[in-house]
Amino acid sequence: MATTASQYPLNGQRPNIPSAAVRLPAVADYEQVDREIIGTLRPTLGWFTLLGIAVLCLLIGITAWMYQIYSGLGVAGYHPPVMWGVYIITFVFWIGIGHAGTLISAILYLFRAGFRTSIYRCAEAMTVFAVMTAGLFPILHLGRPWKFFWLIPYPNWRLIWPQFKSPLVWDVFAILTYLTVSSTFLYIGLIPDIAVLRDRETNPVRKAIYATLSLGWRNSDREWRHFTRAYLFLAAFSTPLVLSVHSVVSFDFAMALVPGWHTTVFPPYFVAGAIFSGLGMVFTIIIPIRKFFRLQHYVTLNDLDAAAKMCLFTSMVVGLAYLTEFQVAWMSGNKFEQEYFWNRVFGQWAWAAWIMLLCNMVLPLSLFSQRLRRNPSWLFILSLFINLGMWFERFVIVVPSLSHEYEPWQWGSYAPTFVDYSILLGSFGWFFMWFLLFIKQLPVMAISELKEVVPPKRKHPHPDEFEHSRDEGIAHPFITGEHELPGGAH
């Protein structure tokens, strides 16, 4: 093809970049990293506008919740047999979003996948805020939300304890542990970067705040020695944790004797779906940040390509799980299961199931094309479809099962009300409010880890560190994404 020669500079071959060999050829030195990443902290009119929209959405959600507390849960559209609806769907959706952050920051750290360096801070922050959002929904779903602490085991005057065989109590432990560990992981990684901000800040108030948050970090060899070990162990703890949390969430369903729920495929299916949806949200967040903060030379096309491959892989795992559910129902000989899955794709809720299948199974197959994997605009559009598809996946799990159980007289329907929609909107407002505040107060990329990738100044240049700049293939704009830089910002 005529375009091949210009698109693939390595004598027409497609580049095959080892994921560990992350290179930032457009970043010259440590000072440039400091300057450009700290430069993203200046608030802009666009940021204030987005923050205003997020707060407005949150206020709508809070108002709806107040109305629900005053009027009772009935205003949320629940009536037998569907007593779980938008709140539980959205709870699982946000928990899932949170998984990609830990995958990128912890699991890829253990696997030494270099492309995580530029995107993991955003993904980690996303995790913390997504889990904070998810944690609200079981409370919103309570008739008396102010009694939520009864789920926590503590000595009390009633001399009663939670039922430790209940999946709802498993959830409490899993989510609180996940929130604590992911917040800790985020903060520990931030300490050296906050020290950089402390040392560059001129405003005395902000400097004092950064000095407090950095805990007096001074980049000594002793601190780094313990830091790298502690970071490794936290990553090692987070890796099984991330797999356990969504498995535990899946038990909320799998432990019940409801058609479509009571299946052993749920834990791996939920974990793969969570990582898939989280990667979708990572694209939704990182692509605009990369564009508007002009950070294309940090989040290169290689990074997006590698993340898109993971997205494709998890999409295929999720697709396999969807098909496995049908196969299990078909081969089980259980007519209730068979009827449920027939109803899922051809019955009352077929429209939701087909949205799910289209967004999660079909559209991600486009990522087999390298050209599309390296196209940020397509990745962004696709990510919106993935977010939509994954919300509908949870809808398809929750609502059709409850509305179509064993006996026909039990069958019913479900329609969310304006309270459900308002609280759903409010959850997005809550999440994006925290995220927008985060990106203007703290570095959106890990400064100290980016510096690990950038070669330090040397009296006698190291041969390995020159390799990539001499290598025509690696340094070519096609690989680095430099050609995207507006006005040669690098």
């Binding site: 001074r218 000594s220 313990h226």
Partner: protein, 166 residues
């Protein structure tokens, strides 16, 4: 202890200075670096970090507590269902695991802070804001009678600035 701080622009200059200082029996050295570099680890040859001991103890305590709280509360309010065991270890493994991760992680963070000696209220003598930017710092804790020798070694290897601090 008083000492000398040397600021370096090039990493290999700083490494050579450290090696030379150690050869000359200046062993109380602290290196400031904007990012962890293996070159300094090789030059300083520090002992292994003891963070792992805290992690192990924290994890074991957490797992024990997670199982214990579930088993103890089950026995405190025994609910016999279908002649099944009152304490069921399979679901309780969730608590054992989650609390192991929780306490193990918090113990790791505690170890990081305790062993790194943070939080600290004031900056250590010799620290310079450039060391979180692009410069490398080598702090030599030494008595005043050997300060001149240390300063000369730092300058010889290309320190852009050498300061006496007390």
């Amino acid at each position: 202890m008083p000492g000398i701080i040397g600021a370096f622009v090039e990493i290999d200059s700083a490494v050579e200075a450290i090696e030379d200082l150690r050869r000359n029996r200046f062993n109380d050295l602290t290196v400031y670096t904007p990012t962890p570099r293996h070159e300094f680890e090789h030059a300083l040859e520090p002992p292994p970090s003891r963070v792992r001991i805290f992690t192990l103890i924290g994890g074991l305590c957490g797992a024990t507590f997670g199982y214990w709280i579930a088993i103890w509360t089950s026995r405190y309010w025994p609910l016999v269902v279908g002649n099944k065991p009152i304490a069921s270890w399979v679901p309780y493994t969730i608590f054992g695991f989650e609390v192991m991760v929780l306490i193990g992680s918090l113990a790791t963070v505690f170890a990081l802070l305790a062993l790194s000696r943070v939080p600290r209220l004031t900056m250590t003598v010799g620290y310079d804001p450039r060391f979180s930017g692009g410069h490398f710092g080598v702090w030599v804790a030494t008595s005043p009678d050997r300060a001149k020798e240390a300063a000369e070694l730092l300058r010889k290897h290309g320190a852009v600035e050498v300061r006496h601090e007390a």
